[in-house]
Symmetry: C2
Subunit: 265 residues, 2 copies
């Protein structure tokens, strides 16, 4: 289905990542989407910032704010979400250690949504100025981050398809496939299992369904022996079956070695 990206180091849990320099996690992630020179890696490695710890369910950046730093998830789990007037919430993305969820803040002044934690997390804040200087000195990195934001957009599109045209069963299966892929890439997976501290309500907020229906749909996925999901951990028992249930084709993740490349000058 997809080419396996080589893992350079593995941190089994979301919290374990804390023993690794978050910049290395970021470099690792960027390498899954495009090639980098050693010079560029060193430049990334020397980015300075302030690290801050968050408890679960705290906002890292809030709608309406004008951030002056990008944030890099070092440990934990974060998500991107909006809340409607009636209190309904839509989660639009999950972010694991190594991802930089608000690159957009570099070019869009005001946040149009929130980024919050779903578990105790540590976040490294790197000033916008440092990032812009980085892009000036290493245009290739600018293109790589641009590519990264384009891939995020591709993921949004895939979610739109799910929300608009897939039924609950298929939508949830698809989401779990995607999450496991991202965990694999981040080195947070072992034997098709990973830590996933999400409640069923949160899965509902991501898939646009009610908690009760998430519960029933999970039961169906379990009954068909596709997954195990309990105590904050997800195991995919039948990858082919789940891929089939969710019509999951990872092409939209635009991983390296799948026909995609970053132009370089």
């Amino acid at each position: 289905m997809h080419k396996r990206v080589e893992l350079q180091f593995v941190s089994a849990t979301l919290a374990d990542a804390g023993s690794i320099d978050p910049r290395d996690l970021m470099i690792r992630r960027l390498e899954t989407i495009g090639a980098m020179t050693d010079i560029e890696k060193r430049a990334l490695k020397s980015l300075a910032g302030i690290q801050r710890d968050f408890r679960a369910y705290e906002d890292i950046v809030r709608e309406g704010e004008k951030p002056n730093a990008v944030c890099l998830i070092a440990t934990g789990l974060a998500c991107r979400y909006k809340v409607l007037l009636d209190g309904e919430r839509q989660i639009m993305a999950f972010h694991v250690p190594g991802s930089v969820p608000d690159t957009q803040g570099l070019f869009l002044d005001r946040m149009d949504h929130n980024i919050g934690t779903l578990a105790p997390s540590s976040v490294l804040f790197i000033p916008h100025s440092a990032m812009l200087t980085l892009f000036q000195e290493h245009p290739g990195l600018g293109y790589l981050f641009w590519r990264s934001t384009l891939i995020e957009a591709a993921i949004y599109r895939e979610w739109m398809v799910g929300l608009g045209r897939r039924n609950a069963y298929s939508r949830l299966a698809h989401l779990l496939c995607e999450i496991m892929m991202l965990m694999k890439l981040a080195g947070l997976e072992t034997g098709n299992a990973c830590e996933l501290p999400l409640t069923q309500a949160e899965l509902g907020d991501a898939t646009g369904m009610s908690t009760v229906h998430v519960n029933r749909t999970l039961q169906e996925l379990r009954a068909r022996n596709l997954i195990a999901f309990k105590a904050g951990s997800l195991t995919i028992l039948d990858w082919a079956g789940l891929v089939n249930a969710g019509e999951f084709d990872p092409a939209y993740l635009h991983l390296r070695g799948t026909g995609d490349a970053v132009p370089r000058h």
Copy 2:
């Protein structure tokens, strides 16, 4: 609700735009999202490309292809869509004259979705090489296009909220608000009316609902005197009412003069 962007020229219909150089339409559009110098405008103006005409319902770029040029809509109407195995379609965006719907092709090799016409359209293809050279010589333009792709992503997020958490009535109202805004910005609106050659089935594919339900929801919007929609043209009779029905807040469009700015060096 939002600052009015000054219109420099107006082409009343989607086809009329044909009498204007598509590069001017693009410049106009880019100016609604960020400032440009005269030098940059001249550089955009001198981009060379090949123009091609499409009939309605033809694909401009197809899933799986590796485009080597970006496309700029000169006249007509295009959309971005995916089709599932069972034939269900999800439209993910609409594109009016002046927009460059596949900037992503510059950095993502393989298309993960289709871009097709919804009306007879003319499209200018500008080679990737020309665009990359442009960004090298004018980094400010690179940032502006980057910003443009980030705004697209913000629009996807807003659609996700609609698809996941809004009911049919609100979702459709929101979409019509957005479309009218985009038409306004493109100079394709007069007195809250614009050409909109969409069938109810297409509105359904964009909002994730069935044709029948689109029909009934439109009737409700009409019954409440919010809109008129027939014969390929949309009129918003009660803007405040429609904004209210759709909980529409244009902040997510990140227009100029609404607190957003593009960093420049």
